[in-house]
C-alpha cells in the first residue's frame, strides 16, 4: 500500500535565509518563522519538485546526496512529521 503523498508550499510562499549551518524559514501563508537544520531545507527543496511519498522523496534526495547512516526511511519520516507539525509540509 503506498504511503501518504507529502506536499510543500511553492518557493514563492516561503522566504529562506541561510545562516551558518541553519536556515531561517518564513512561511508566508501561516506568518510563522522556523529555524531548521539539515536535512529539513533539503527535504523541502525536494518536495517542491512535486508531491511525493517517502520512497520517492528518498529517491530524489539520493540523486543529490549521499546519506549518512542506514535508517534513511525512518529518519526521513521523522523529519517529515516535524515539518508537518510545523505547517511546512502537509499530506495530500
Amino acid at each position: 500500500m503506498p504511503g501518504p503523498q507529502y506536499h510543500a508550499d511553492p518557493e514563492a510562499a516561503v522566504k529562506s535565509v541561510a545562516l551558518d549551518g541553519l536556515s531561517l524559514i518564513f512561511h508566508a501563508p501561516s506568518g510563522m518563522t522556523h529555524i531548521v537544520a539539515p536535512p529539513a531545507p533539503e527535504i523541502l527543496a525536494a518536495l517542491r519538485l512535486g508531491p511525493a511519498e517517502v520512497g520517492e522523496l528518498i529517491a530524489r534526495l539520493s540523486a543529490w546526496y549521499d546519506f549518512e547512516g542506514d535508517a534513511a526511511a525512518d529518519a526521513i519520516e521523522a523529519r517529515l512529521a516535524e515539518l508537518e507539525s510545523a505547517g511546512l509540509v502537509r499530506r495530500a
Binding site: A18, G21, D66, F67
Partner: protein, 135 residues
C-alpha cells in the same frame, strides 16, 4: 548538522551539491524550531477564536475541493458554512480530520484546505496562525 564549513553558502544555499553527505539525524532528534511571534502573546484563548468559511468578503461563495473560492452552486464544491468554526474545531479538523459538529464530512476536506490557504489580511487568518503556535 554537518558541522562542515565547505558547503556553498550565500543566497541560494539550497541548491544541492552532488555527493554532499546529508546527515539525516537520529529518528528522535528534532530539526525544526518554530519562533513564537509577538502575536502569540496577545491571544488569550486561541482555541476560542473563530474562522468564518468563507470570510465575509467572499460571502456566498462555495469552496472547491482544493480550498479555492468558486461560484455558488458549482458542482463538487462545498457550500458556505452556516457558522464560523471555533479554533478548537479547526485544530481537530486540521490535525486529525475530525469533522466539526453540523459539518458535512464529505466537505470537511474542502473547508480544511480553505483554512490552510488563509493569508494575512483575510478573516480568520490570525486565528489560524495562532493555532499553529507551539505551546
Amino acid at each position: 548538522m554537518s558541522g562542515t564549513d565547505d558547503d556553498q553558502s550565500g543566497g541560494n544555499a539550497f541548491v544541492p551539491t552532488r555527493r554532499t553527505v546529508l546527515v539525516l539525524g537520529a529518528v528522535a532528534a528534532s530539526t525544526v524550531v518554530t519562533v513564537r511571534p509577538a502575536l502569540a502573546q496577545t491571544t488569550g484563548s486561541v482555541l476560542a477564536c473563530e474562522i468564518p468559511v468563507p470570510g465575509p468578503q467572499a460571502g456566498g461563495s462555495y469552496i472547491g475541493p482544493d480550498g479555492s473560492l468558486v461560484a455558488p452552486g458549482t458542482q463538487g464544491a462545498a457550500p458556505p458554512l452556516a457558522r464560523p468554526l471555533r479554533g478548537e474545531e479547526v485544530k481537530q479538523l486540521l490535525q486529525s480530520g475530525t469533522t466539526p459538529a453540523g459539518v458535512d464530512p464529505t466537505s470537511a476536506q474542502a473547508y480544511a484546505n480553505y483554512i490552510r490557504r488563509l493569508q494575512a489580511g483575510m478573516s480568520g487568518f490570525t486565528c489560524y496562525a495562532s493555532l499553529q503556535m507551539p505551546r
